[in-house]
Amino acid sequence: MAEEAIGIAALPDDGLAGVLRVLPPRSLAVARCVCKAWRDIIDGRSLLLPHLLPRSVHGIFINYIDHQRAHLFSRPSSSFSRIDGLLRFMLNADPEEDIWWTVLDHCNGLLLCDTGGLYVCNPAMQRWTQLPQHTTKARYQRTSAYIAFDPVLSVHYEVFLIPDVPEEKPKPADPVVYRKAEQALDATSFSLEWLFSSPEDQASEEDQRHVEPPSTIEKDHDPCHLMKWPPSPWILKVFSSRNGQWEDRSFAREGQPAGTVEDMQLEKRTWHTQLYAVYNNGVLYVHCRGSFIARFSLSNHTYQVIITPAKGEYVAGRSMNEVIFGQAYKNQRRHRNSWRSERRRHRIVHLIDESHAPAFLLHFFLDADHLRPSVKLTDQPLASLSLGTRHTTPPEFPLPPPLIAGRSPVSLPRLDQSCRVALRC
């Protein structure tokens, strides 16, 4: 007779997994720390990953144009410890002290913040990390930073730096550079490093042969302006939490470029904030200057260009499993339509009035979390969701109180339309 007491350690893995499987996520995360055997079972059977998916909207961060930090709007929660909307745990700051920071991007509960350096932060867990400095030769180039994190696929996140259209011209006076630029026009062997390395470097390379310079290289005849954009391969700086460092990752273009650098420059650059991006199912969609969306497929290192139907800024987000880009127009009702492509996996929605843009985001993020059945964005529920001023009908969504108040008790700084939504627990 087996009379000696059997410890839980004697359980076969399947039996123990059966127990661990019924634990709620928090307890499972704690159980993971109990001992190595448990950790192996939890990791080996991916018991925790399904739980890492955000379940409901916990709050939203809003960036302002003329206010130096983002604000968190959220409902008070009893089940979770209150989230510090000022991110004091990260910035270690006295609330009275003015520290400038902004939310650049967010993905599945992780925030990518800019306070001079790049920070990735999980406000719900009060955990954060500062990304190391990245070295880039592209001295003249602005970049936008975006975060990709999908807990179903991996507990690791990646941060992408997407370069803007080159703005400064590399000195066109050097004939060798000029020749190189000509060669680069076919865009097959282009790399940004080449474009931004110094003319001396270029000259020291293989092609030392003197080429008769064209009679004049006028400013408006800068060869780089005729270069195809985006280039292929497009080399991006990528930070992965897996190895904790930046690396160059090159993406080959499938299909046509958006145009030439010059075409892209026709569109005004936005200074106050970076454009939107959405990460969904291993694909990063980035709205880029020049009226196109770059669709990066992270698994096979390729990208495609999706030309947007109109110029201007788009807000973007995810609804269910669909990526949506929306644009706000002022007083142009005729533009009210929607544009879909790629087997409906992403969609572009045109909004009627730009004052609705933040509401639009709120709207579909709530929708995204199954709080309500899907609502057609183009139909018209937006009017009842507009912020502050024209609020008539109470929204049927459980919106954070400060946002549904007819007139906000505090006068809010002006919204910059980049209503970054995050923090789903």
Binding site: M1, G18, C35, K36, V155, C425
Partner: protein, 174 residues
């Protein structure tokens, strides 16, 4: 017309099967109850376990097996109704009360039950006991879990590892 005496399955005098525990104790139960075990069900459908043969269960001792059978006998009628869609609320409440009391037992018995339920593939019992053990884990710190479940005290290395994981991993969750 099937004669009730034929001993066929559910009607009339229920067919009995004999189960033999690892310590050679014989248990005679209704086939319907034993059939809650997916493993036994196949044998029983093949006509095994009747008469003097008995089905040997070398992995289950008599104390555990009697406990398992107690569960099976109680749950067999509901299971025969196909997951009890037409069970009355009273029946369900009664089963629930039984379940609660059933798992109010020593940890070591719980673990034996987990193993037995796993080996015999008794789904309901598996989830019942798993839930009970999970309730003992819920809401505790790793150290408390270790103490509750009778782990030996962690070695300094284990302790350090535990702390590291608490720090390292907490942050991606929730």
């Amino acid at each position: 017309m099937a004669a009730p005496e034929s001993g066929d399955g559910n009607n009339g005098a229920a067919r009995m099967v004999t189960l033999i525990s690892s310590d050679n104790t014989r248990f005679e139960v209704e086939a319907a109850a034993a059939s809650l075990s997916q493993t036994l069900q196949l044998t029983i459908l093949d006509g095994g376990g009747g008469g003097g043969d008995g089905i040997p269960l070398p992995n289950v001792d008599s104390a555990t097996l009697s406990k398992v059978l107690e569960y099976c006998i109680k749950h067999a009628p509901a299971a025969a109704n196909g997951g009890a869609p037409n069970a009355t609320a009273v029946d369900r409440a009664e089963l629930e009360r039984f379940d609660n009391e059933f798992v109010n037992i020593d940890q070591s018995v719980l673990y034996s039950l987990i193993m037995a339920a796993h080996n015999l593939e008794i789904e309901g019992l598996q989830s019942l006991v798993a839930k009970k053990v999970a309730d003992m884990i819920k809401g505790k710190s790793p150290m408390e879990i270790r103490r509750t479940l009778g782990f030996p005290d962690p070695t300094p290395e284990e302790q350090a590892e535990m702390n590291a994981h608490m720090l390292e991993y907490g942050w991606a969750y929730e």
